[in-house]
């Protein structure tokens, strides 16, 4: 079905943004909206850990200080939320998932990211390796605020932003796909914004 032309709708294209950076159905925002399914959890840095477990030869756990000592990268990237906003050129600092998996032997094809507060989201391993995903602890030069997922969140910018789990506490490697929170609540299993994979039937 070709789309219906909306009588009298001109639209407001932003001339200051490159349209090739905007996935279908998205609009560019300059602020940083907050979307979460429940209260914002508070995580004490003394209690914070990040764990990689599941189908691995040996689970790995880092304390906050150990995690901060890992090599990290500055990432500047566009992000796309399924609720239609995109934010361009967002500056983060984080540890690449490649770094975290460096010494991990696994035959897994999937990961399930888990968060303080109980949130989960699933991803193919191939979507979080080869420089595509990070665990970010800083935004715009500052420690990541709790409402945006601090102390640490996933950053998987090539997928809709619900895949970038806030308050992340670990990655479980799995030999099978296990749909996470939004993936079992009507949203798409993969979530590629360029294919507009918003909802389960897309």
């Amino acid at each position: 079905m070709s789309p219906l032309i909306s009588r009298g709708f001109g639209g407001r294209r932003r001339r200051d943004v490159d349209p090739s950076r905007i996935p279908p159905g998205q609009y560019v925002t300059d602020d940083f909206p907050v979307l979460s399914a429940g209260p914002t959890p508070t995580v004490d840095l003394d209690d914070w850990t990040f764990t990689i477990n599941g189908a691995v030869d040996e689970p790995a756990t880092w304390s906050w200080d150990e995690f901060q000592a890992l090599p990290n990268e500055q990432i500047t990237t566009d992000i796309h939320c399924v609720t239609k906003w995109s934010k361009l050129g967002t500056p983060w600092r984080g540890v690449s998932v490649d770094t975290l998996l460096e010494n991990v032997e696994t035959a897994a094809d999937f990961v399930l990211a888990s968060s303080y507060g109980g949130y989960t989201t699933n991803l193919p391993l191939a979507d979080v390796t080869d420089g595509q995903a990070w665990v970010a602890c800083e935004y715009d030069g500052q420690p990541l605020e709790p409402i945006h997922g601090g102390p640490a969140r996933m950053l998987v910018p090539h997928l809709y932003f619900w895949k970038s789990a806030k308050w992340v506490r670990g990655l479980q490697l799995l030999d099978h796909d296990e749909p996470g929170f939004w993936e079992t609540n009507g949203y798409h299993n993969h979530g590629d914004p360029w294919k507009e994979q918003r909802y389960w039937s897309d």
Binding site: M1, P3, L4, I5, S6, R7, G8, F9, G10, G11, R12, R13, P24, G25, Q26, Y27, T29, D31, F32, P33, V34, L35, S36, A37, G38, P39, T40, P41, T83, K84, W85, G117, G118, I147, F181, W182, T184, N185, G186, R198, Y199, W200, S201, D202
Partner: protein
């Protein structure tokens, strides 16, 4: 009545027709739509609306459904955002008889069905009341005995959505309370100012029990109210939230 199965219908774009436009407040308007083959929805769900310009340029936005699943029409309430791209078109330009593309229902988390039970504690800030109103309308439409309390936070009395309907629904196990944050009418007997722990205690929110809590509103409102409820002993997992930010809707 046939059991609705909102999940089974693929979320394809449908061409709806505007049946009626209902002003709610100075800035909010309800669009009452006829949607052919609407698959049904749960209270709390939303729809995506898509506008297409003549040159093919498109804009999409999400809006909460205001009508109950029992309503033959689908209603969405639009808060007009000054210099927004989509909301001024919907509130100012669209007129009865016009067609509007939408798809849904979307979201299986921030939903309530009378079968889920209660009691319900609903907290709405500004147009965050919209999905909560769908729950109250659903409760009324099926004459549910589930006890419900709703706290409506608005800037002023004239900014309260569905004011007359809320007061007519008040009673029969439903308690409606208001707090006005900016301006209060003369002889105002409701609460004033930001939601605080005292208000929540008076609503019985310190007795967490098995209360189902839904909070919807601007980010600051939701963060604040959810934190207060967690401090009052509510299980964070029993608090469902939906936030919206000041974006260019």
């Amino acid at each position: 009545m046939e059991r609705l199965a909102p999940r089974r219908a693929p979320l394809t774009w449908r061409v709806s027709t505007l049946a009626e436009k209902r002003p709610e407040t100075q800035t909010a308007t309800t669009l009452v739509l006829n949607v052919p083959d609407w698959p049904g929805h749960l209270a709390g769900q939303h729809v995506d609306v898509r506008l297409t310009a003549e040159d093919g340029y498109q804009a999409e936005r999400s809006y909460s459904i205001a009508s109950s699943p029992e309503d033959p029409h689908l209603a969405i309430t639009i808060e007009r955002i000054e210099d927004g791209e989509v909301s001024p078109y919907l509130t100012d330009e669209l007129r009865p008889g016009d067609q509007l593309e939408l798809r849904g229902p979307i979201g299986l988390y921030f939903t309530w069905d009378t079968g889920d039970g209660g009691p319900l504690l609903l907290l709405g800030g500004g147009s965050g009341l919209v999905p909560l109103m769908a729950m109250l309308r659903h409760r009324a439409a099926v004459t549910s005995a589930v006890a419900a309390t709703v706290l409506v936070s608005a800037r002023g009395w004239d900014d309260v959505l569905y004011r007359d309907e809320l007061s007519s629904l008040d009673g029969d196990g439903l308690t409606v309370r208001y707090t006005l944050t900016r301006a209060q009418p003369p002889e105002w007997r409701g609460w004033s100012g930001r939601v605080n722990a005292e208000m929540l205690r008076e609503l019985g929110a310190d007795r967490a029990g098995n209360v189902r809590v839904f909070i919807c509103g601007p980010t600051g409102f939701v963060e604040h109210v959810a934190d207060l409820l967690v401090q009052l002993g509510h299980d964070p997992h029993a608090i469902k939230t939906e936030r919206f930010g000041p974006t260019g809707g």
